[in-house]
């Protein structure tokens, strides 16, 4: 077909067909513009139009950085996310290390548990912890019966509870992300280290951990942004009654109070900036991790 009919101007026909081919991009582009770019632009514009004055400027941002509730929300979001990410990564590092050293059967069972439980988050997770540690939770009753104050007086519906829940959903994710990195650690390194009279502490802190550092930091940033944006878990636990960035943002657009797009959008921009910073850090480290592996 291509040889006979379009022989007169094959170059032209190919070019026309090429332009026609670009039409395949149109549906995708329309949906992405309508539901990804325009909503983002809307948030950005709303955040820059002052709530009181109606004039463009940083009024909304000045307001959120001077209002105690919003300051508290940003601060709570950052420290809860950071704490859960750090605890998550420490547990995950040890778990991945032990799983990597284990027999195939043990590793298989453990990875299956990780995969299954990594889905257990959001509203179901919050409910499960209410059954476990709520006001009449199973562990709370045990704590009261046996006199364990930590369990009996545990405050699930506050920062304590949020930290416990966030750590819970970080562990499977972190371990699944870190496990592959351990395959980059060569058996010979340990042998070489032992021959050179390195202690086990030297081996772990001077060889293994520095080598895994890009993966560890990359995973840490994924965990941090994962916790930062988590909404369902927190909402199911404390509703809007806690100073947390995602809860405060959503309550400005939905719920009993009047819609306040200006403040909500400004808070959303703060969240976006935190997330973008995380993604950039993650990209930086995953690139370095890939490079490091090539050299080895």
């Amino acid at each position: 077909m291509a040889t006979s009919s379009s022989a007169s101007s094959p170059a032209k026909a190919t070019k026309r067909r090429m332009w026609l081919g670009y039409a395949a991009l149109i549906p995708f582009a329309l949906v992405v513009i309508a539901y990804e770019f325009l909503p983002l632009a809307q948030i950005l514009i709303d955040s820059l139009i002052g709530k009181e004055s109606g004039a463009p400027g940083l009024e909304n941002f000045i307001k959120i950085f001077t209002t105690p509730l919003y300051q508290q929300s940003i601060w709570n979001s950052v420290w809860i996310s950071l704490l859960s990410a750090v605890v998550g990564i420490v547990v995950a590092f040890l778990a991945a290390r032990f799983a990597y050293e284990s027999s195939e059967r043990v590793r298989g069972v453990f990875t299956l548990i990780l995969n299954m439980m990594s889905n257990f988050s959001g509203v179901p997770l919050a409910f499960a912890f209410m059954v476990l540690m709520g006001n009449s939770g199973v562990l709370t009753i045990m704590g009261r019966t046996w006199g364990i104050p930590f369990l009996a007086d545990f405050d699930l519906y506050g920062s304590q509870g949020l930290v416990i829940l966030y750590i819970y959903f970080q562990i499977p994710l972190a371990t699944l992300l870190l496990l592959p990195a351990f395959s980059g650690i060569r058996k010979e390194w340990r042998e070489a280290a032992i021959i050179l009279k390195a202690t086990p502490i030297d081996y772990w802190f001077k060889i293994v951990i520095p080598n895994l550092m890009p993966s560890i930091l990359g995973t840490l940033s994924v965990l941090f942004s994962n916790a930062l944006a988590a909404y369902a878990t927190a909402y199911a636990l404390v509703m809007n009654n806690f100073a947390l960035l995602p809860l405060q943002i959503t309550s400005k657009f939905k719920g009993d109070v009047q819609v306040d797009a200006a403040t909500g959008s400004a808070l959303a921009v703060v969240l976006i900036l935190l997330m973008v910073a995380c993604t950039l850090i993650n990209n930086h480290f995953t690139k370095r991790a890939a490079k490091g592996r090539e050299i080895v």
Binding site: R17, G21, Y22, A24, P27, F28, A29, V31, V32, Y35, E36, P39, L40, Q42, D46, L94, A95, F98, A99, E101, S102, S103, V106, F110, I113, M116, M117, N119, F120, G122, V123, P124, L125, F127, A128, M130, V131, L132, V138, I141, M142, Y168, K187, W204, A229, A232, Y235, P246, T250, F253, K254, V259, A261, G264, S265, A268, L271, M275, V276, T279
Partner: protein, 274 residues
């Protein structure tokens, strides 16, 4: 501990310390679900041990029409939004594979943005943009489908891209073109049949993400169009027995999908090795 593992040949035998640590982590992860499961099977649990075995919660749940309606809605949302995303991306990736490779980077960037944004930002952006515009776009259902399409973009994109790379789609198209087939026909008749199994895994993964979504459904549709997660949240304060049964059902459904994904992935890996 480290002295112990030093002497043990790696990858053969599991040391005791490793076993204990992994068991503790595994238990920590399993206990909340296990307790909820037991809770759902008993009349009450106000002492150390639960009392009065019963299937009442499940019978009540399965005879609840609202439950089935919310399950139905969730499944429609999962299927339709994932199918839309796959169709959009397959068309768009034709351009990347057959016409202009340079667009690949742009596509990747656009498809990865939702991964960084996640639900809260996406949902409030969409509601503040379209609510009250009085057009078809302000319909909550339309908004919700649009939002899910964007939410699953990163997962479907990665699945399709990996599948296209694995079969070297560009070379296949060039070969078909040399044999007198048009590029688009080559893409549809040669490339697509070869990547179906690759797309399957990522679409299952995407469906389990839509199934587990609460943020978008709650913020955009809310009580107007309850999905299963919103249904659970609405019941949490009313009946803890019923809610525990919903949690178990959600977990079993998502667990089954995950098991299927893992099985497909491992069998794909095996054929790759062969």
């Amino acid at each position: 501990m480290s002295a112990h593992s030093k002497s043990a040949p790696r990858g053969k035998k599991t040391s005791l310390g490793a076993k204990i640590f992994l068991a503790v982590v595994g238990l920590y992860l399993l206990v909340p679900f296990a307790v909820t499961f037991i809770y759902s099977l008993f009349v009450e649990w106000t002492d150390i041990l639960p009392s009065g075995f019963t299937l009442r919660n499940y019978i009540e749940l399965f005879s609840n029409a609202t439950f089935w309606a919310s399950i139905g809605r969730t499944l429609v949302l999962c299927l339709v939004s994932v199918v839309i995303t796959i169709a959009l991306l397959l068309l768009a990736m034709y351009v990347v594979v057959a016409i202009n490779r340079k667009l690949g980077n742009v596509m990747q960037f656009v498809c990865m943005i939702p991964y960084a944004l996640q639900g809260v930002i996406l949902s409030i952006g969409i509601i503040s943009l379209y609510t009250g515009t009085g057009t078809v776009l302000s319909n909550r259902m339309v908004m919700l489908f649009g939002a899910y399409t964007i939410l699953v973009l990163p997962y479907i994109y990665q699945g399709i891209r990996n599948a296209l790379n694995a079969i070297d789609a560009e070379m296949l198209i060039q070969a078909a073109e040399m044999l007198g087939c048009s590029r688009f026909r080559a893409y549809v008749q040669v490339v697509l049949p070869n990547i179906v199994s690759g797309i399957l895994v990522s679409s299952l993964l995407a469906q389990s993400i839509v199934f587990g979504d609460f943020v978008l459904a709650n913020n955009i549709a809310g009580t107007n169009y309850q999905n299963i997660q919103v249904f659970l949240q609405a019941n949490m304060d009313k009946s803890s027995g019923l809610s525990s049964a919903i949690v178990v059902i959600i977990f079993l459904v998502v667990g089954a999908v995950t098991a299927l994904v893992l099985k497909l992935q491992s069998s794909a890996r095996k054929t790759e090795k062969e």
